[in-house]
Amino acid sequence: MNLKPSFQYQLTDHLKSILFYYIIIICVFSVIICTTFVTVSSNVSFNGLEVATLVFLFVSGLCAFRENFLMLEQNSVSRKVIFYSRILTAVTICLIMAIIDKILLTIFAAVAMSSGDSIVVVSLFDLIYGANGGVVSSVGMQLIGFLFNFCFYITVFAFGYFITVLFYRLNKPGKVAVGVGVPVFLCIVLPILNSTLADGKIGRAYVKFVEFSMGLSAAGPANPAHAITSWLVYAAVFGLFSWLLLRRAVVK
């Protein structure tokens, strides 16, 4: 079975871009630090690292299919093994990036603290679940925050992969229908329906769904475990759909 070389190949394919991504992140943070010291400005907030990683992983997921699929098919790897190795690659990359993000945030927070109150570094998890920026939360919360990031990353990566496999399988009219139809439906049709026929019910249902998924509640304390479970379920659903599309994908 070609699982090991397939995994190795797909992982290597991502490593260079991950390296460039973190170089850019470190440069951006350095620029912020330098600018803050030079201009003696206050209340600069650095809280977009995980969001940037999510965008990066989504794009990576989008770019991860066609070239790899053809290369692996050329080397007599079955679709089953391509899929298994893709899961292994996704888990490994998301784990590595979640760890690096945690380390970077800790370093950035330490640097920010040494600069006084002028820079505030806040993680996405802390922003959503209430820990104050710059304040180190408990070890348990750190661990949950790490798990939250990791599962969120996996979901977004799986979503990007699902979209790219879907577009690979679709014919030209299908690509246009999905590529144009879905955004038009979500951004134009649904809001119009929501404000005219549904009297805001669709919007309220969506907010409830997001709150439920993220474990947020106006009545009680937020529950990040709920969000972790939701991400895992969504990742599994995207993975399942990706597999259903991949198992009959042909070389073209």
Binding site: M1, N2, P5, Q8, Y9, E67, L70, M71, E73, Q74, N75, S76, V77, S78, R79, K80, V81, R247, R248, V250, V251
Partner: protein
């Protein structure tokens, strides 16, 4: 030890590319898979190599089902007309990765072939011309050392010198360590002396699958005046005719009947002529 194709049917929309195709490729033979454009050669090779799926039928490689079976498809290497290697990858990196997927890949031999063909290992796949893309894929194919090698249009864009070099290298490799090669090509004259068995595919059906020598010895041409040729060919298995300025050449399957060939010229048929007659019917 063989590739067994059983009752394969493949449709593209409403077009039937392969219609109930059954054929066996035995081990340690060089096959010529011949057919006109759109006959179904590439579809057949793609189904064998698990790149596309058939609607019906099965493929077995050394007794193992080929579809989605890594053990089975790992026993073959398919070189297609299209290039499936990443465009930004360097040739030397392709060799490195191929070695991981095919542990029996001979990197030293591949480098020596690259040297013979004048292929620079530092070049990226996207920077190669059509001819050098073919050379690059041929080098991988010749070095991969799998029991089955599927070559779809292996000399596309190659000049005469490089085609000659490739045929010599293939024969040399085959002589040293026999393996099964299936060559799909339109340059029949060039491979005529290379191939041992001929598989001719026409409009998605196998119309001939036998040893080249047997096929050629079972066919002949007869030329002469139209009337004489018509008398001679009556009741014989006629493949086709060519008429020119009152003279006719008929291509016939079977053994020549010299007793009734007065005033006629009987000759052997070459593979290309025979192919044209068989696929023109």
């Amino acid at each position: 030890m063989s590739i067994e194709v059983k009752s394969i049917t493949k449709y593209y929309g409403k077009t039937c590319a392969l219609n109930d195709v059954s054929v066996t490729f035995d081990d340690n033979k060089i096959y010529g898979l011949l057919g006109r454009n759109g006959a179904g050669k590439t579809s057949l090779l793609s189904i064998i190599s698990n790149r596309i799926f058939a609607e019906n039928g099965t493929v077995a490689i050394d007794g193992m089902p080929a579809q989605e079976n890594d053990a089975a498809i790992g026993r073959l290497y398919a070189m297609g007309e299209k290039t499936y290697y990443p465009e930004s990858m360097r040739i030397k990196d392709v060799f490195k990765w191929t070695k991981l997927f095919y542990p029996q890949f001979d990197e030293t031999y591949a480098k020596s072939l690259a040297d013979q063909f004048g292929l620079k290992l530092n070049k990226k796949v996207k920077s190669l011309s059509t001819g050098f893309l073919t050379i690059f894929k041929l080098i991988v194919a010749l070095s991969v050392n799998t029991p089955y090698l599927l070559l779809d249009e292996p000399v596309l864009g190659l000049d005469a010198n490089n085609r000659d070099l490739f045929y010599r290298l293939l024969l040399e490799k085959y002589s040293n360590n026999p393996f099964t090669v299936i060559i799909s090509t339109h340059l029949i004259e060039e491979v005529a002396n290379l191939i041992e068995d001929v598989v001719i595919i026409k409009e998605g059906r196998i119309i001939c699958s036998q040893a080249r020598e047997k096929l050629l010895s079972d066919s002949y041409s007869v030329s002469g005046k139209i009337v004489d040729v018509d008398v001679y060919t009556a009741g014989k298995e006629l493949l086709g005719c060519e008429v020119m300025a009152g003279f006719k050449t008929a291509y016939i399957m079977g053994q020549a009947d010299y007793d009734n060939a007065d005033g006629l010229e009987i000759a052997k048929v070459d593979l290309q002529k025979l192919f044209i007659q068989l696929t023109n019917i």
